[in-house]
Subunit: 235 residues, 2 copies
């Protein structure tokens, strides 16, 4: 039996088990707060752009992140929640991460937007396989690559010389970010019982077993390594 | 003969006088750069919000400003220009204004978003009456009140005590902003011949006469005074 057989097709909150709904609302909420924060951070960071074209490009991707917030809000409403209520449990952990990893330069900001967001998005894309079809569809639309990551990667790659001191410094920065992002994802799963239950499942709704959780972390790490390599950095 | 009779109805660049097109591109460009800057500034300012609901509200209005940029870009494309080319002539004057008027507190930022943007929007709404119907329609959609100004006004009004030292300080701030915004609008009109020609017109395409320009400035000032009063401030 696949995880999706456990959900009635209409997908409104009334058809779904309340414990399950709490987990799905958590997933949408943490993703919404991540997207909201990325949106604001990119819009700020765009002020540091070296030229108008890069500034407009970054603003455009930032605005797309807010489009994601709107889409998540739509599904939250169907599940009987609001954006603010769903995001509230996650503000502290995500704000803490951002305080600890403040980008000081234009390139640090781009690497952060690629690496940290990449990890988070990859992680929640994996979790989307464990939720009802309608929630999954919304999450998959939100995490779909809209060109932003490819753009960020190409700008970083074109701006640095492989093997240069700056490349080493940005590689270290990338390693720090991945550590912080994985810590955040684990902390969120541990803090929020309903979301943890999504991951491990229930008798009626199978989740991911230990082997699968290992496979998820492996895939997330591989995608991160690939992104770093494409930027000309060492993972 | 009204100003709009002078334009063919299809409204593509090929149907229009090149000098006129240059003026319309300027109008769309200055508005686009104003909206881009407001979008970024509001998204930054939302980090200072006292609570999550205010933060989300401000982010939502900021994102709507980027929707405006997208709409202006659509019309610029029809007129054979790009966002970057159309905005480029206005970055210095608008960036200078923003450097001179950096908000230090949450309320200063809200007053600025209401007062400075309000003036600019009112001014370009008046200019929209002098352009071809299709450009006018886009400008009017962009400057239409989407609830942002009413929201900002109500937050400021509820946060201050009329007659308090803070109200006096914010009133002064508002007066400084209106001076800066009017200076900017005049400087833009003087610097950009094509845009100046929009305002004063040509034999084929009547613009605004001196009496009308006076009336425009009067209306813009009246709307500003009204906004200040509604915030509980003195214009």
């Amino acid at each position: 039996m696949s995880a999706t057989d456990a959900y009635p097709s209409s997908g409104g909150a009334g058809d779904l088990d309340p414990d399950y709904v709490a987990g799905a609302v958590d997933l949408l909420g943490v993703l919404a707060y991540s997207e909201l924060t990325t949106y604001q951070s990119l819009a700020v960071h765009a002020f540091s752009a070296p030229d108008l074209a890069s500034r407009v490009a970054l603003c455009r991707y930032a605005a797309a992140d807010f489009d994601h917030v709107r889409r998540l809000e739509g599904r939250l409403a169907e599940l009987g929640s609001t954006l603010e209520d769903a995001m509230a449990p996650f503000t502290t952990v995500i704000d803490d991460l951002n305080r600890r990893t403040r980008a000081e330069t234009w390139l640090e900001g781009l690497v952060k937007a690629s690496v940290a967001d990449g990890i988070i998005v990859d992680f929640y894309r994996e979790m989307a396989r464990l939720v009802d079809p309608r929630t999954r569809e919304v999450v998959e639309q939100v995490v779909a690559d809209d060109g932003k990551r490819a753009y960020l990667i190409s700008v970083v790659r074109e701006s640095i010389t492989p093997g240069s001191p700056e490349a080493s410094r940005l590689s270290l920065w990338g390693r720090r970010l991945v550590g912080e992002a994985l810590t955040q994802a684990q902390q969120v799963a541990a803090d929020r019982e309903a979301m943890g239950m999504l991951l491990v499942g229930t008798p009626e709704r199978p989740g991911a077993d230990l082997g699968e959780i290992g496979a998820i972390l492996r895939r997330v790490t591989e995608r991160h390594t690939d992104r770093m390599t494409r930027m000309g950095l060492t993972a």
